[in-house]
């Protein structure tokens, strides 16, 4: 099964004619991803990488039945590109761009509220279901199909987690980078809900980091969950000292200063196994 995407998911690429998009869509096509179209405003009617290009997501969806999009548009264009995808009622949008203004993301979250569209990112390597679909920029050569789900807030540590499954002789059902930005689309809970229901996922690795309370929310949710699959967690940032900023308002919102250890405590209390070093994940996987 996997979550969000598989080999049958019909995918479009927004901003397909750009250099990055061209490079990665070609790789994803080689990987077997079922790309059916691209969208670049004002380039509708042309073809690119053998795919028809449309002016809007709505046109692309009507012509192809696509349900998911991966977008490679530059940061200033992200807001309108997501709006386009939400209006076309896609199920999933993956936004790779970094440096998206925070205010634009506040508006994007307003758009998403009450819509059926789920957003992964921005500032994410994307989502990959090994052997099935690659929506993003993952180095596909380190992945192999398997039964471990991975969801991470840190792009680069996602790859570390994948390498750990390989060291344990296992593969991945689906790997999701939630995105490194302040405001993102789906969070741990939305990814975990699906992993817990997924027949092809036996256990999940979650990678957290300092900032926000995403890990605490995941822990609270997991603690009350009736049918739990094992979760192995890692949180980066225990050695990061407090400071380097002016004003206090940002800290007040998170009740003073939340440490990585606070997150680890909450996760352990909820029944997750939390490793101190990311390179210890494979040992915990072997114990499953």
């Amino acid at each position: 099964m996997s979550i969000f995407v598989d080999a049958d998911t019909k995918v479009i690429c927004q901003g397909i004619t750009g250099t990055q998009a061209t490079f990665h869509v070609r790789r994803s096509l080689d990987y077997g991803t079922r790309f059916v179209a691209g969208v670049t405003p004002e380039k509708g009617g042309t073809t690119h990488l053998g795919l028809p290009v449309f002016n809007s997501v709505k046109e692309a969806r009507e012509a192809t039945g696509a349900t998911a999009s991966v977008m490679f548009v530059p940061a200033p264009a992200v807001k309108s590109a997501i709006k386009d995808a939400v209006e076309a009622e896609l199920d999933l949008v993956v936004c790779i761009a970094d440096s998206v203004p925070i205010k634009d993301m506040l508006e994007v979250r307003q758009l998403l509220r009450g819509s059926k569209t789920k957003l992964i990112g921005p500032n994410t390597p994307g989502i990959i279901t090994p052997g099935g679909a690659r929506l993003g920029i993952f180095p596909e050569n380190i992945h192999q199909p398997g039964r471990i789900g991975i969801v991470s807030r840190s792009s680069t540590l996602t790859y570390e987690a994948v390498i750990e499954t390989t060291r344990a002789g296992m593969g991945q059902s689906t790997v999701i980078g939630l995105g490194d930005d302040m405001i993102i689309g789906i969070d741990f809970v939305e990814a975990l809900e699906r992993f817990m229901r997924d027949d092809e996922t036996d256990a999940v690795i979650i990678i957290g980091q300092l900032g926000g309370t995403f890990e605490e929310e995941a822990a609270r949710w997991y603690k009350n969950l009736e049918h739990k699959k094992p979760i192995i967690g890692f949180v980066a940032g225990n050695a990061v000292p407090f400071g380097h900023k002016i004003g206090y308002a940002g800290d007040i919102i998170t009740k003073g200063h939340i440490t990585a250890q606070d997150k680890i405590d909450a996760m352990q209390d909820a029944g997750m196994t939390v490793v101190k070093k990311i390179t210890a994940i494979h040992e915990e996987l072997a114990k499953l």
Partner: protein
């Protein structure tokens, strides 16, 4: 990006926020002239313009600056010159500047405003909601940071609608919470919604008015002001990006910013080059678990290539605290041979006088190893992060 108090006040006054009369002075004489222009008689406020909170509780490194803090009340014109002489050119240390402090090169001279009450106002983005959020608290003399830790119930948090700002019921909530009189109602509404409009329209990430004062007639006044802005949105605010004060940023930080790298300095001895914040934090944690601190980390972010690595390495090598360097790059489509080329070119240009450990993950690994071996530079190659960290710690110990 942060700006100075006087700049923030100027921006906020455009949104109808009431501020004391004031002006900037770079010399003691200028301070006297500004004081005369803003008010016929004292007292006046002399405020050190450095980008830090808690300036009032700070102290100057130089004895000649006297033992008062970075914000001084002055009663006579003659004292203005005297105090300005002490403060200008001296180094102010606060809880937020670190022990090195910051050089005071300009003062903001304001008319002293008598207020009958002060309170804390903050506006920030609560990323978990997400929403622009108003924070208010009655503070008197306590520090707001302490209140947040020990008595969080003393801080009122209100989520604001992105388009509408505060609605009437929320304004009433603020009035009740702060025990403000009805005659402050109108001014409070203008104040909160003025801040909100300023916040949204300038792509701010933080506004802090600490303290906010209540004048005898009930009107609110911003006695201090701090603003930070979203660096990713500066492209649409040319006027604000011009306010960037290069002096406030560390040299290496500025250099890093030129390449769009993130650079942070700490108190330890190892310099790290990584391509992600999570990776940076994990590397710091790993060093820390071996009792070794991080001197700095440089996040070169995506699209790592030869030139990025070379320029990143050069920035780190100029940090005198660095006794060893860890390069830990995990790439999507990174070709390791290009990274190796970058390392060799930087090291041969600046000279490599500390141990360097490189952890590669990507294609052309063997080719990269060959390049490094061929360079005859003392570079250690490791296969994973833990090995890299332990080899580096060992190499630094041996080189002592």
């Amino acid at each position: 990006m942060n700006i100075h108090e006087y700049q923030a006040k100027k921006i906020l006054s455009r949104y109808g926020i009431n501020i004391p009369k004031g002006g900037v002075a770079y010399t003691p004489n200028e301070a006297r002239n500004v004081a005369a222009a803003v008010s016929g008689r004292g007292p006046w406020m002399l405020k050190a313009q450095i980008q830090s909170g808690a300036r009032n509780r700070g102290y100057f490194l130089e004895k000649s600056a006297g033992n008062k803090g970075g914000i001084r009340i002055v009663k006579s014109r003659r004292d203005i010159v005297k105090e300005a002489e002490k403060m200008l050119g001296s180094t102010l240390v606060t809880m937020q500047t670190g022990p090195k402090g910051k050089l005071v090169s300009r003062l903001y001279v304001e008319a002293f405003n008598k207020v009958k009450k002060i309170f804390y106002t903050g506006m920030v983005i609560d990323r978990m909601v997400p929403a622009v959020t108003l924070l208010v608290a009655e503070t008197k003399d306590e520090e707001i940071a302490k209140i947040a830790l020990t008595e969080p119930e003393k801080i009122l948090k209100i989520r604001l609608d992105l388009q509408k700002g505060a609605v009437p019921s929320q304004i009433q909530e603020v009035l009740d919470f702060l025990h403000l009189e009805p005659k402050s109602a109108h001014s409070t509404e203008n104040f909160i919604n003025g801040l909100h409009r300023a916040f949204v329209e300038t792509d701010a990430t933080m506004i802090e008015i600490n303290p906010t004062g209540v004048l005898r007639d009930g009107r609110l006044i911003a006695l201090d002001a701090k603003m930070s802005f979203d660096g990713n949105a500066l492209y649409r605010h040319k006027d604000i990006s011009r306010l960037q004060d290069d002096y406030e940023a560390d040299d290496r930080e500025l250099q890093a910013a030129k390449y769009k790298f993130n650079y942070s300095e700490f108190d330890g001895s190892i310099g790290c080059i990584v391509n992600g914040d999570g990776l940076a934090m994990a590397a710091m944690d790993s060093l820390n678990s071996r009792g070794v601190g991080t001197a700095c980390f440089l996040n070169v972010k995506g699209g790592v290539d030869k030139d990025k690595i070379a320029s990143g390495l050069k920035i780190i090598m100029t940090n005198p605290k660095v006794e060893g360097i860890l390069v830990n790059i995990l790439g999507g489509f990174l070709r390791c041979n290009l990274i190796a080329d970058g390392i060799v070119s930087a090291a041969s240009e600046v000279g490599l006088n500390v141990p360097l450990v490189v952890r590669f993950e990507g294609t052309n690994k063997d080719e990269a190893k060959e390049i490094l071996e061929h360079s005859k530079l003392p570079i250690i190659i490791a296969d994973d992060m833990e090995t890299a960290v332990s080899r580096l710690v060992q190499a630094v110990e041996e080189s002592d």
